[in-house]
């Protein structure tokens, strides 16, 4: 006969009631959290309780019955597979979104569709206006000074637009850089949060909890992280000893770079340790050394650290220690020698309670004196002394020490030693020792300095910086009189935990997209860039558009400058062309050189002269021509007749010359565009610095009508104007990579090949910019639409597994309500039965 417990059924009923109550609680939690973002529906884990084992008196006809229901815990219903798919797709969305943001920024600058008056575009319209003016100049304006001004005004508008767009590109670049800074901060914040949550979950699980809400929060953070970086999330179990196993979450990089130099699989979060991102020019913290990066905005992962900033430790460290055996305290002040080092020690008079110290307390006191003296001796650079756990001996661990001599501060300021600074206040009233103690206190309490520490030398003049070396020691190297032991349970820093600089293609996600927007140069990618990223030539970021915009500005300026400039036989710029004017003219003699009809230069007295070195015989400012009236007599500016001897207003003798050389205003060519509005320097022109040249702006030079010497006396010659029209409107220009990038210059050190990346007119180039940008944008838009649709579907799929459904919970409520009622009814029935047995049987 099986055991029958009299009151066991009560327990059974009680367990049933309890289980139903708990289940109702879980259901209530689900319902109230239906709108909580990231909430995963929970379910009660029930197990059937069977109490019993092999019964000594069991009969094979016994009916073994269970003992009720046991609530074993609450768990979440979640699909890790859907989580993986969701996070992968989210990284696609993040990548496309950020890329699209950047391209939209570029489109706001370069996309001419629908802009301007009558949808003609802004730059298109300005270029067209310039062409119109030039056409007008060619056909009707040749020889008219006003047309030069009109054309200059039109070209100024084009220059202005080049400058504005270049400025906008720069603003976009800076804004994108700030965005990268924010993204890096966000990622670092997320990593820190995940680390903190991992800690909290670990502690909760150690104490028996399941931390489901914390896990939900962590999942939300992981989802957020996946948008910025594609990751691989792994759940492991960690044995923390005494049969206790807790969950450990590991996040690894999953950028997809499977090359030899790739860092796929590198740890971002490892349980309670996490990394932080460091990006040059964006967020290198001052206290960390600058990472050794090879490219702009390369990302370095800091070594994994815990919440206090301590580096990741190996739990089963295998460092060695050297232990001195139990010491006997000295009974009188004297020298204590341990490990071959002798320290004079004193005796302890009273213990902390004011009583006579025990032998153990005396020993501890003497050992502490030994420790302080040993550690503060600058000669002891190889070992660090600490008290053993039982405080009967000294433990020596390997260490590296350096000592620094310090000079006391005489006024308030920072005391900087070995690269670490401590603010000392009231320094004038503090001795060196006090300042050193203050420094020591701050340094040793800074968790960022662990496991390093500082001590003060015996002479109170130096600081000794010590870094413990946790490494296995070879027997025989220990201090004399000590025993080599393995400190197996002591955590030691993981030697593999170091800073890692990621390659150009390690990341995938929003962060990578922002990086690419700041760095990718498309066709301008050098061999080195291609080595870092094989698909570099197909990616176009802000630098690419900056370069081609500069190229277009430089090409336009260069072509028009060349068309408007003539070189003389020496290859120097020839600013003027001269002709000959027949007839008689009065000319002022001051500061001029004119020639007679034989070509001799004449001085002020009308006699042939030799020009001074550097004199410019064609200076148009050097003479003034007086007109003749209808009688053929010379007249001044007011129309008054001039009579010989011809004198100017200052009384200088003016001369009459025949057949003088003249300078024709309309042939005064020169540089039209320069790199600054206050000079005529045509070198190094970019879109940002493109300017109307100073001489053209102030009217010293003009657009040349003709470059042909035979057309000198043709006042309406227009051959050069026609040429300029062809340049601006029709001619195809070849754009080579070396035009804007010295990496492709002939004989460049990188072995880069200079190629043509575009050939066409300026209008074609403008269209090419818009078209390339438009095509890239369209591709990314389509990708974003696809990825977003997939993400929505996955989100719904995920929600179908882990989301709360009111119908489900309603049914559960009904179910548990019924089971509660049934359990209560069962208890009532048992009660009645027992009442019958007790009060109604054998009376």
């Amino acid at each position: 006969m099986s055991n029958v417990s009299t009151f066991g059924a009560f327990t059974m009923a009680k367990l049933g009631i309890y289980a139903s109550q708990k289940a109702m609680q879980v259901t209530g939690n689900n319902i109230t959290n239906i709108n909580t973002v990231g909430y995963t529906r929970q379910t009660l884990d029930l197990n059937s309780l069977y109490v019993g084992g092999a019964d000594r008196y069991a009969s094979k006809w016994d009916a073994k019955v269970g003992s009720g229901v046991l609530v074993s815990g609450v768990s979440q219903i979640r699909s890790p597979y859907l989580d993986i798919r969701y996070r992968t797709e989210y990284s696609n969305v993040g990548k496309a979104e950020k890329t699209l943001d950047g391209l939209n920024g570029l489109s706001q600058i370069f996309d001419e569709v629908g802009k301007g008056e009558d949808d003609e575009g802004v730059m298109e319209s300005a270029l067209q206006d310039m062409i119109e003016r030039l056409t007008h100049y060619v056909t009707e304006g040749s020889g008219e000074g006003t047309f030069d001004t009109i054309l200059k005004g039109s070209m100024s508008e084009v220059v202005n637009i080049f400058n504005i767009y270049a400025g906008k590109l720069e603003d976009l670049y800076n804004n994108t850089k700030e965005s990268l800074q924010e993204d890096v901060k966000t990622v670092n914040s997320i990593l820190s949060n995940i680390r903190s949550l991992n800690n909290a979950i670990r502690k909760a699980e150690i104490h028996g909890g399941n931390a489901l809400e914390l896990k939900d929060e962590r999942n939300l953070e992981i989802d957020k992280l996946s948008k910025y970086i594609r990751i691989n999330v792994i759940y492991e179990e960690e044995d923390i000893g005494a049969g206790c196993v807790v969950d450990k979450l590991t996040i690894r990089l999953n950028g997809g770079d499977e090359s030899e130099n790739g860092h796929d699989g590198i740890l971002l979060v490892d349980g309670k340790y996490a990394t932080q991102l460091k990006v040059p020019d964006v967020n290198v913290p001052e206290e960390r050394p600058a990472p050794a990066c090879t490219g702009m905005f390369d990302v370095t992962l800091d070594a994994l650290r815990d919440v206090r900033g301590n580096p990741k430790m190996l739990v089963d460290g295998s460092s060695a220690i050297c232990v001195s055996g139990p010491q006997q305290p000295l009974t009188a002040p004297g020298n204590l020698t341990i490990g071959g080092y002798t320290v004079p020690v004193t005796l302890l008079d009273k213990n902390a309670l004011g009583q006579t110290p025990t032998e153990a307390e005396q020993l501890e006191h003497q050992l502490r004196q030994f420790k302080e003296a040993y550690n503060s001796d600058p000669a002891n650079t190889q070992w660090r002394a600490t008290l053993s756990m039982d405080k009967t001996g000294i433990v020596f661990t390997a260490a590296d020490s350096t000592s620094e001599t310090v000079t006391a501060l005489t006024q308030d300021g920072e005391l900087t030693v070995n690269g670490y600074s401590v603010v000392i206040r009231n320094a004038a009233n503090k001795t060196l020792e006090e300042q050193l103690k203050e420094f020591q206190s701050v340094y040793n309490s800074d968790p960022n300095n662990e496991p390093n520490y500082v001590t003060i030398s015996a002479d109170k003049q130096q600081l000794i910086f010590t870094t413990p070396r946790n490494e296995p020691l070879t027997p025989g190297s220990e201090p004399p009189g000590t025993t080599l032991a393995i400190d197996g349970v002591k955590p030691v820093p993981d030697p593999d935990n170091t800073d890692v600089t990621l390659t150009d293609t390690d990341l995938y996600g929003a962060l990578q997209s922002t990086r690419e927007m700041l760095t990718e140069e498309g066709a301008f990618a050098s061999k080195q860039d291609i080595v870092r990223d094989p698909s570099a030539t197909a990616k176009r970021g802000i630098p690419y558009y900056q370069k081609i915009w500069d190229a277009m500005a430089s090409k336009l300026a260069g072509a028009l400058n060349e068309a408007n400039s003539l070189e003389d036989a020496n290859g120097d710029l020839k600013r003027y062309e001269t002709g000959e004017k027949k007839g008689q003219y009065i000319v002022q003699p001051k500061n001029y050189y004119v020639t007679d009809k034989d070509g001799n230069y004449l001085g002020a007295d009308g006699q042939p002269i030799t020009l001074a070195p550097g004199a410019d015989p064609d200076d148009p400012a050097s003479y003034k021509e007086f007109k003749k009236d209808q009688d053929g007599d010379f007249v001044d500016a007011n129309g008054n007749k001039l009579t010989p001897p011809y004198l100017d207003a200052d009384g200088n003798d003016m001369r009459v010359l025949t057949d003088i050389r003249v300078v024709r205003e309309q042939y005064k060519g020169g540089i039209l565009f320069s790199n600054s509005g206050d000079n005529d320097d045509p070198t190094g022109i970019t879109a940002k610095n493109l300017s109307i040249a100073h001489s053209w702006a102030n009217g010293s030079i003009h657009v040349m009508q003709s470059r042909d010497d035979t057309e000198l006396d043709q006042s309406t010659a227009n051959s050069n104007l026609l040429h300029m029209l062809a340049i601006v409107r029709d001619n195809n220009f070849t754009y080579m990579l070396s035009d804007m990038d010295d990496d492709f210059a002939p004989g460049n050190a990188g072995g880069n090949t200079d190629v043509q990346y575009f050939k066409g007119s300026f209008g074609d180039m403008l269209t090419e910019i818009g078209s390339t940008l438009g095509k890239d944008t369209k591709v990314i838009q389509d990708r974003l639409v696809i990825a977003s649709s997939s993400l929505v579907e996955l989100e719904v799929d995920r929600d179908s597994v882990s989301g709360v459904d009111l119908n489900d919970e309603a049914i559960a409520m009904m179910q548990y309500n019924k089971s509660y009622s049934a359990a209560c009814r069962f208890m009532t029935t048992i009660d009645e039965m027992l009442d019958k047995l007790i009060n109604g049987t054998a009376l």
Partner: protein, 399 residues
């Protein structure tokens, strides 16, 4: 949507996503109707946007070419009017008639008057050839800012290139028609002189050595002046930056082409106006009493009979010169006609391009409004569904 369990939030999420999509479609359709454009960015339709800007540039270019064409046509039209005045009224009706009258005058008493009339007609003809249009002298070639023709006093050159002198050996001068300051009556060759001014003779033949007259060459060079404009002939440049001649149009008109220059084998001018001057000068030197010439003109006539012969010759030469200039006048008419046809061609091109641009950029109003209506309908339907999405659940029916 592959799921076996549809939660409340899942339904809401899907509804929200679909409603947003529907609203975006509505917004896009609405934007198209409002702007009248098929696309609002390069990204929406890169191929069409690229084509649209290409077409716009061609449209603008054709417009410029049409304006150039019309500008040149107007200039030619003015040239036609001025030349018509010069040729018909002055040359034909005045100078030629005066010469004939002078020849056929029974008593010659009116010869002097006719001569003065001819000279006056020559000056008027010159002014006619100095006509301006839009601030430029029409017949000045590529020197449109300066009047091409002037009357200036210059030494008289003989056919052999030497300067004519009077009986006392003094250089003879006369008022001559000049083109840009160079008298048009230039012989092709001049007698070569040394630095002392003596005639250089061939040591073998003893004949004076003749050299090219630089002024004649200069005048001839001026005939080649061009002012090219783009009137839609596919303007292209040679590698050295000069235009390919067959792709541009020369709008320069040189007065010398119409009136000719130089002297014939008799030393008489070929230029029509110069001939008018010469005829007028000859008639002017006749006596106003009986029309005879009582003074000789060195190099031209010795007596009245020779003067009359000269007048006769000059009249014939004027007729020939008139015929030649008439040919040039016809050429001008042909050019004007060509420009007219070209203008019509360009106008047609502009219309075609405009239509193409509209086809690429602008919406079909019917299709766009239909799409907008449908998008609005779908959005409204989506909104109506929203109410029923938040449907009751089992909880609402529990006691």
């Amino acid at each position: 949507m592959n799921m076996y369990r549809l939660t409340t939030n899942g339904m809401l999420h899907t509804y929200r996503a679909n409603l947003q999509h529907s609203y975006k479609t509505l917004a896009t359709a609405s934007q198209k109707v409002q702007t009248g454009r098929n696309f609002l960015s390069y990204a929406e339709d890169p191929a069409s946007a690229t084509l649209a800007f290409k077409l716009r540039r061609e449209f603008w270019q054709t417009g410029s070419q049409l304006r150039n064409n019309n500008s040149v046509a107007s200039t030619f039209s003015q040239a036609y009017a001025s030349y018509d005045l010069m040729e018909n009224k002055l040359l034909e009706q005045n100078a030629h008639v005066n010469a004939l009258r002078g020849l056929n005058d029974p008593n010659g008493s009116s010869r002097k008057t006719l001569g003065q009339s001819s000279i006056s007609a020559a000056e008027t003809a010159m002014q006619s050839m100095n006509a301006k249009y839009a601030g430029r002298y029409i017949f000045a070639g590529a020197d449109g800012k300066n009047a091409p023709f002037t009357m200036e006093t210059h030494p008289v050159l003989k056919a052999d290139g030497t300067v004519a002198t009077d009986a006392a050996g003094k250089e003879l001068t006369s008022t001559q028609l000049c083109y840009r300051g160079i008298p048009v009556n230039q012989p092709e060759k001049l007698v070569q002189k040394d630095q002392q001014g003596n005639v250089v003779t061939d040591p073998v033949t003893g004949e004076p050595v003749m050299v090219d007259n630089p002024d004649y060459l200069k005048l001839k060079e001026m005939l080649n002046e061009v002012t090219y404009v783009d009137i839609g002939l596919g303007m292209q440049e040679n590698p050295d930056g000069t235009p390919v001649k067959s792709t541009v149009y020369n709008s320069a008109l040189n007065g010398l082409e119409f009136l000719d220059f130089g002297v014939d084998e008799d030393g008489d001018p070929k230029n029509s106006i110069a001939l008018m001057l010469e005829i007028g000068d000859t008639l002017n030197k006749a006596s106003d009493m009986d029309g005879k010439w009582y003074e000789s003109e060195p190099g031209k006539w010795e007596n009245s009979s020779e003067a009359y012969e000269r007048l006769f010759d000059l009249t014939g030469k004027l007729e020939k010169a008139t015929d030649k200039s008439h040919v040039e006048f016809t050429e001008l008419t042909t050019k004007a006609s060509y420009l007219k046809n070209n203008g019509e061609r360009l106008e047609g091109e502009m219309d075609e391009l405009n239509q193409q641009i509209l086809d690429v950029e602008e919406i079909d109003p019917v299709a766009a409004i239909t799409a907008l209506s449908w998008a609005q309908y779908c959005y409204n339907a989506g909104l109506k569904i929203g109410n029923s999405i938040l449907s009751q659940s089992l909880i609402d029916y529990m006691n």
